[in-house]
């Protein structure tokens, strides 16, 4: 049986500059394995060790995802091998196109009992990829997962919901979205980095997999995000107590302290 971890190799929008005309500049940003997915890889390592399953990383993206830097960064985190779909058409892929591509990769691998991924994606933060992929595969999907134990195709899962920690039981194959603090992702050491170079990294194109990307709309324009205009009322803070009292009255009047 195979455990697959879907990971993203992307630039962090935290590092992006947005100019007033809406141009997004990622030139000072370096792509990385998303922190969210690093946690999922770590969990995959623990499960692969406990079950003896193969641990395979999959990723979809533009040319950057197939570079040695990218595949080694993933392998150094403990994956046994990586299977990467790289295509210029994936540079601007949204959630649906990415999910369609990853589904093809999973179908190609076969024998997958569990797919793990970080709950959030680095560059969109939309937290919907795992569900779209589940829909395409026809597998059940659980997010906000803290803990997974496997016994054959039988899975016991703990996940956080607003009411507390929920225990679930289900049978694979299943998709699991891992919370960012489920386990602590180790920083790869020198030995990990060296051994990463010897592990298999398979790179395929969309054509190889026979994938046609779905349309995801036509972008008409991009502008810098502007929030609602704010009142920008400055409260005199010479006397903190008085400033606090003034703020509380203002907030009460605005209804911000109700309920």
């Amino acid at each position: 049986m195979r455990i697959v971890v879907a990971y993203q190799w992307a630039c962090d929008p935290q590092e992006a500059l947005v100019s007033s005309d809406g141009k997004i500049d990622f030139s000072r940003a370096k792509p990385t394995i998303s922190d969210y997915d690093a946690v999922a890889i770590e969990m995959g390592c623990h499960l692969a060790e406990a079950t003896g399953a193969e641990l395979i990383g999959i990723s979809a993206g533009g040319e950057a995802v197939a570079t040695a830097i990218a595949t080694k960064a993933a392998l150094a985190r403990g994956l046994h091998e990586v299977f990467v779909v790289s295509d210029p058409g994936l540079d601007s892929a949204g959630t649906l196109a990415t999910a369609v591509t990853l589904k093809a990769a999973i179908d190609n691998l076969g024998d997958v009992g569990l797919l793990l991924t970080g709950d959030s994606s680095l560059d969109s933060g939309s937290k919907t990829l795992v569900a779209v992929l589940a829909g395409l595969l026809g597998w059940p999907c659980v997010t906000d997962v803290m803990k997974v134990t496997m016994d054959g195709d039988s899975l016991t899962i703990e996940r956080t919901i607003p009411e507390g920690i929920q225990g679930l039981h289900l049978h694979g194959p299943v998709l699991v979205g891992v919370t960012s603090d489920a386990v602590k992702a180790k920083v790869p050491g020198m030995k990990d980095v060296l051994s990463a170079g010897k592990k298999p990294a398979r790179v395929v194109s969309l054509l190889d997999l026979g994938v046609r990307l779905p349309g995801e709309g036509e972008i008409l324009s991009v502008e810098k995000m502007a929030g609602p205009s704010r009142q920008q009322i400055r409260i005199n803070t010479e006397d903190p107590a008085q400033a606090a009292a003034e703020l509380v009255s203002a907030l009460r009047a605005a209804g911000a302290l109700d309920a």
């Binding site: 959030s120 990829l129 589940a134 507390g164 049978h171 709309g217 991009v222 995000m225 009142q231």
Partner: protein, 301 residues
């Protein structure tokens, strides 16, 4: 095209109903939850309610494919909130009708079969205007609970849940964080000098009955707070009635996670900090004096 509202065991879909009602298309609520929930979902603005039954000891997500099958019969515009099970419903539905999935929606306009959506990209640091043809799935803030009182017909359909069985529920030792739906949030950033000083912020949050959030360095790097408290592009996107930013400079990447807040207060020692542009009330000064003063003022009132 019909508009579908996906209801996942939670009545907090008022924002979706409000949004859908403005489009003048038939609105269908697809509900997984109790009979009571189904009745409140039949609220003004909803034309039809389809009830898939009470989840019992099935995980809510076990109904995702049944929800998707209903929408796939007659694809349209699909709306869901930001809670985990709502996201799973939305994603599964989007997959079943091959609809692009859009988050951070600001505005939507229809022109026959074309939909033009203004939406945040890269976690909200920029906004794109995109034109779509055909079905589309959108994640929108769920908003207030609906309370029924409409005239929608309730139709019961049988569902075939997948095998996700709930085996236990342990109440949280500490109240769980649900920043996305909190009505008040206190956010703290690098202006705080030591992790021990978080007590000041906690005291204020308790007084306000607010959740605590933070800017990214505090949860990733300093590790003073768990990562699910981080507000910003790749973290929580909050929409509370009140957001108080303490010692946060107000970089775009943080602000994009809190823009939807109704009222924003900033407490910062730099009178020219970026955050002032995004604040309704600005308190310039020492947070170590102002935060306790605010806690005290709230206690008095």
């Amino acid at each position: 095209m019909k508009t579908y509202i996906l209801v996942a065991n939670d009545p907090g879909v008022g924002g979706l109903v409000e949004q859908a009602a403005t489009w003048g298309q038939p609105v269908v609520a697809v509900v997984v939850g109790s009979k009571d929930l189904t009745q409140v979902a039949a609220c003004p603005g909803v034309d039809e309610v389809i009830w898939l039954g009470d989840p019992g000891n099935h995980g809510i997500e076990a109904f995702a494919s049944s929800v998707a099958a209903i929408v796939a019969d007659d694809p349209g515009v699909v709306l869901a909130g930001r809670r985990p099970s709502e996201r799973v419903f939305l994603g599964t539905v989007a997959a079943s009708i091959m609809a692009p999935i859009i988050t951070g929606v600001q505005s939507v306009s229809f022109n026959n079969e074309t939909v033009v959506i203004k939406h945040g990209i890269y976690g909200g640091i920029a906004v794109a205007t995109t034109q779509f043809e055909g079905p589309i799935a959108m994640q929108i803030d769920g908003g207030a609970p609906v309370v029924g009182g409409g005239t929608a017909v309730i139709e019961t359909r049988s569902a075939t849940p997948t095998t996700i069985t709930v085996t236990s529920l342990t109440p949280p030792e500490v109240a769980s964080v649900d920043l996305d739906t909190a009505s008040r949030v206190v956010g703290v950033g690098r202006g705080l000098k030591r992790s021990e000083d978080l007590g000041l912020v906690e005291a204020l949050a308790t007084r306000l009955n607010a959740e605590i959030g933070c800017s990214r360095p505090l949860s990733e790097g300093l590790d003073w707070l768990p990562r699910d408290r981080y507000i910003g592009v790749s973290g929580a996107h909050i929409a509370p009635d009140l957001y108080i930013m303490i010692g946060i400079s107000g970089q775009l990447q943080h602000v994009s996670g809190c823009r939807a807040s109704k009222v924003i207060v900033s407490i910062n020692n730099d009178k020219d900090a970026l955050v002032t542009q995004d604040s309704d009330y600005i308190l310039t000064g020492d947070l170590y004096a102002l935060v306790p003063a605010l806690s005290a003022a709230l206690e008095k009132s």
